[in-house]
């Protein structure tokens, strides 16, 4: 049994042209309007997590804004990671050592936007949907 609940979206806030933005899993973002993405995962067996391979945010009529997405597991929504952050497309399996009772982990979703990629860019709100699929392993 696995359940996935979205708790928060990933928001880089407003970025001035020529500036970058980074939201690091395991660290509470401090910039205005910034928030780290978070999924709550409940499971009672080992589970694999398939993350997105997205590499940018989109705005209609403009080139994509490159983003390097990073993810990590934690015992809390915004706390320190259990292990290290990885690319969201390569998060490790969830291990289960219990005897049937459900346990909870939080998948924190962050990313980084390079300063060079925000210069001379069409202004607007760039977005992407990052889908994660969790599959129980028997």
């Amino acid at each position: 049994m696995v359940t996935v609940t979205k708790l928060a979206d990933l928001d880089f806030g407003t970025i001035a042209p020529g500036s970058g933005a980074t939201i690091t899993p395991g660290t509470v973002p401090t910039g205005t309007g910034q928030s780290m993405g978070a999924l709550k995962i409940d499971f009672n067996s080992g589970a694999s997590v398939a993350g997105p391979t997205a590499s940018g945010l989109s705005l209609s009529g403009a080139p994509d804004l490159p983003v390097t997405f990073s993810c990590g597991y934690s015992l809390t929504q915004t706390g320190a990671l259990s292990g290290s952050a990885t690319a969201c497309s390569a998060v490790p399996n969830l291990t289960y050592t219990g005897t049937g009772a459900s346990v909870t982990r939080y998948l924190q979703v962050g990313g980084s936007i390079n300063a060079a990629d925000t210069s001379n860019r069409v202004p607007g709100t760039y977005t992407a949907n990052l889908q994660f699929t969790v599959t129980a392993l028997n």
């Binding site: 880089f12 979703v109 994660f132």
Partner: protein, 36 residues
């Protein structure tokens, strides 16, 4: 017992027993946003 009955019983015994375990799965979507 009739031959046909025996044949039917034998056919039933030969049926493979298949147990299929379905992996449970669930998905969630995080929306990422940046305003330039």
């Amino acid at each position: 017992m009739k031959k046909s009955t025996l044949a039917a019983a034998a056919a039933l015994l030969a049926l493979p027993v298949t147990a299929t375990a379905q992996n449970a799965f669930a998905s969630g979507t995080v929306t990422a946003t940046a305003k330039i």
